[in-house]
Amino acid sequence: MRPNFEEGGKFYAFHSLFDAIDTFFLTPEKTTSTGCHIRDAVDNKRTMFTVVIALIPALLFGMYNIGYQHYLVLGEIAQGDYLANFWGNFGYGLLKLLPMIIVSYVVGLGIECVFAQIRKHEVSEGYFVTGMLIPLICPPDVPLWQLALAVAFAVIIGKEVFGGTGYNFLNPALVARAFLFFSYPIQMSGDKVWITGDAITGATPLGEMIAGVSTPSASVLDMIIGFVPGSVGETSVIAIAIGALILLVTGVASWRVMLSVFVGGAAMGLIFNAVGANEYMSMPFYYHFLMGGFMFGAVFMATDPVTAAHTNTGKYIYGFLIGVMAVLIRVVNPAYPEGMMLAILLLNVFAPLIDYYVVDANIRKRAKRAKLVSNK
């Protein structure tokens, strides 16, 4: 079968697709040519696969919550009766979420294959993760055509124009989310998108805070377990914490980034507590971690190794500023309840600058040492 896909073969136009599928099943037989004769068993497939595994708790919970929120608003289940209608909730969520995941992967991987074909590269594994992240950070009621457009935009403009995985400077999943937010503001904000079903409204905790209440109507327990309206994967603190644990134990995500996002968020939250000019500022700072996409962003988005700061010192600064900015945008900016997306995108842009100064310190140290010697 393989010769058909090699240069000159009948199906050469599909060789990158063939390669991707082929190496999915069987590891390549390629051996080391120069340098180190043995190599670590880890490859990008393994790393990306680990992230997808880490996303599964949030994914499953997200499915369930879509159904739960839907039937809750319809009055078919009572508030707090989490396990009533278990399979009904789950099945409803599955039917909602599965098309989103399929659209995300088909569109995204399709475009990736075309680019890989043109560039004569292998299809990179980066989209494994991005394709899963995008549905998880979208509201459950997003129209599929909008999702498809957002995915196409994210893959082409967010990633491939810069050279593909490893070269992009913005997190592609967040580019998709930002595209949706700015292109379809009417559908993408307000109260209508968070719970599926026609003309059903339901405010997220963040939406309520912006509206000027003193604390969200959902209980802290609900927010920790995740039974609140919100983007698909972002609501459950517990599910995300399981994912975070997987990422940290396997060492795939940087603990430096993750930790410092929370430190940054707490710091800004405490500053607002001290100022206390309005209800939102006086809200206990840890509510920020429980509401909206803070947790999901900190664990899965900010830690993207390509778009985060690359130096270890830089990672602390980068993470800290994400936390600060996210809370700042949430509390001070009245137009948009969620600050995490913009905070991460903003710091993605500034990450190279942070790294520049960190590396520059090393360069200066070396230059100083050389100068000392030449003066001797």
């Binding site: 590891t27 037989e29 051996t31 080391t32 004769h37 990008n44 990179s124």
Partner: protein
């Protein structure tokens, strides 16, 4: 005078097939000098096929550096001069005649000799070529003076030979070697040993050297790492370095008046039936060493260790500076869902495989490895995995990228003078994007060397 330096970052790669502490003498059918073993060298031949040579007879010199002579390790006949692409000389083969004749360079006491006389003697006998210089790893220009000379008295590489075996009985010759080196620099002679690996009395008894004890993991045996901790190289500075085995070669030049190319090497690797030590001469053909002593698998023969060595054929020759031969399995087979398996027996630093968690287990039970790349090549991603195995105060990924794009200024600022490709071997080993990082660094160094006119 002694100093202890601890290296915390790095990785000890534990493999099967360490050499047993037995030294075997074997008859080698052929020797060779491979000009490719020397960085930036264009050989100009001084012999023809059929010429008789003695141990120490010049075989070729370096174009543009006429004082650098490369001499035969053995007495015999030049049987073949093999050329590769563009007629580049690849190997000069010499078949020994069993006479063990040596060119006479006259015994001399070092006490009365000037630096220039010492240099002249070392150059004429070819012994000078055991010295190398940082930056660039070239053989030093005799007209220059180094700020210090580093003698490495251990190796931390995977399956590395035990120096207490390599250096047995060489103490007196090495002391003479030290005296010779002292004529070549006003700076210190650093002798680096390890706290647990091959801490040999032969070395510790040497005088007029500064003994530095290193502790910790590989790459603490790399010259760059040692120099960075002892006396880092700035732009324009030179450090010379050599292996402790070669210290004895220098010493014997003065005490015996001849080029003694004898050395002990370790035959290692999982595929070797009896891994042990061999007493041979520089540039030996490996055919008789591996004869009846390796498995029937498809094998890779490596002159050196698995991280930095050179692939050679089953009838190839050991490289000039190597004292180790490693034989491992070729990994040219495909595995179903290799990236998906839990991976208990796999070699991985990453904790995405179960093997990564079994650190304690793997300390007692070494890894099985082969040469499979274990994945497809991808663009470099800043995963932070390099920083964990790179012990120098240098940003490895940034320097790799600077070398990849050939930005000379940036390379210089980021510390290219302090490193060699071998320092990035562990980065290459753990790299999940499977790039050939050592060759990227080597290219960067070559660009720099040409730019600086060395």
């Amino acid at each position: 005078m002694s100093k202890t330096i601890r290296i915390t970052k790095g990785l000890d790669v534990r493999l099967l097939g360490a050499a047993k502490p037995e030294v075997v003498e074997t008859t080698i059918g052929e020797y060779a000098i491979k000009p490719k073993d020397f960085v930036g060298l264009i050989p100009k031949l001084l012999v023809q096929e059929g010429d008789k040579v003695k141990a120490g007879t010049p075989v070729f010199y370096a174009k543009g550096k006429e004082r650098l002579l490369f001499t035969s390790p053995v007495s015999g006949t030049v049987t073949a001069i093999e050329r590769g692409e563009k007629r580049v000389i690849e190997t000069i083969r010499i078949v020994p005649d069993g006479q063990n004749e040596y060119e006479d360079f006259s015994k001399e006491s070092l006490s009365g000799m000037s630096a220039e006389q010492v240099k002249e003697k070392m150059l004429a006998s070819g012994v000078w070529t055991v010295l190398r210089q940082r930056p660039y790893s070239v053989i030093p220009d005799p007209a220059t003076t180094p700020k210090c000379i580093v003698v490495t008295g251990f190796s931390s590489a995977p399956l590395a030979p035990d120096y207490s075996i390599l250096l047995k009985g060489e103490r007196d010759a090495m002391q003479v070697g030290v005296e010779a080196l002292r004529k070549l620099t006003d700076g210190k002679i650093h002798l680096n040993v390890h706290s647990t690996l091959s801490r040999t009395d032969e070395l510790l008894k040497l005088e007029n050297v500064q003994i530095n004890t290193f502790e910790g993991k590989h790459p603490c045996g790399n010259v760059s790492v040692q120099v960075e901790k002892l006396d880092p190289i700035n732009k324009g500075e030179r450090v010379w370095y050599l292996d402790a085995q070669d210290l004895a070669v220098i010493g014997k030049l003065f005490t015996e008046g001849k080029y003694v190319a004898d050395r002990i090497i370790a035959l290692t690797g999982e595929e070797v039936s009896h891994p042990q030590y061999y007493k041979i001469k520089r540039g030996a053909n490996i055919a008789s060493i591996i004869y009846n002593n390796v498995s029937a698998n498809c094998l890779r023969y490596i002159s050196g260790n698995v991280l930095t060595g050179t692939t050679i054929k089953a009838d190839g020759f050991l490289s000039y500076y190597d004292n180790q031969l490693t034989v491992i399995k070729e990994g040219n087979e495909r595995k179903l869902f290799g990236w998906l398996a839990p991976g208990c027996g796999k070699f991985s630093v990453s904790r995405t495989f179960l093997a990564g968690f079994m650190k304690n287990c793997s300390n007692t039970k070494p890894y099985r490895v082969d040469t499979n790349l274990n994945g497809g090549e991808r663009p470099l991603v800043f995963t932070g995995e390099f920083e964990k195995v790179f012990p120098m105060d240098i940003y490895p990924m940034q320097l790799i990228k600077a070398c990849a794009i050939g930005d000379i200024d940036l390379m210089e600022q980021l510390g290219i003078y302090e490193v060699e490709a071998e320092d990035f071997a562990l980065c290459e080993l753990v790299d999940s994007s499977k790039n050939n990082i050592q060759s990227i660094i080597r290219q960067g160094l070559e660009l720099m060397r040409k730019e600086m006119g060395e």
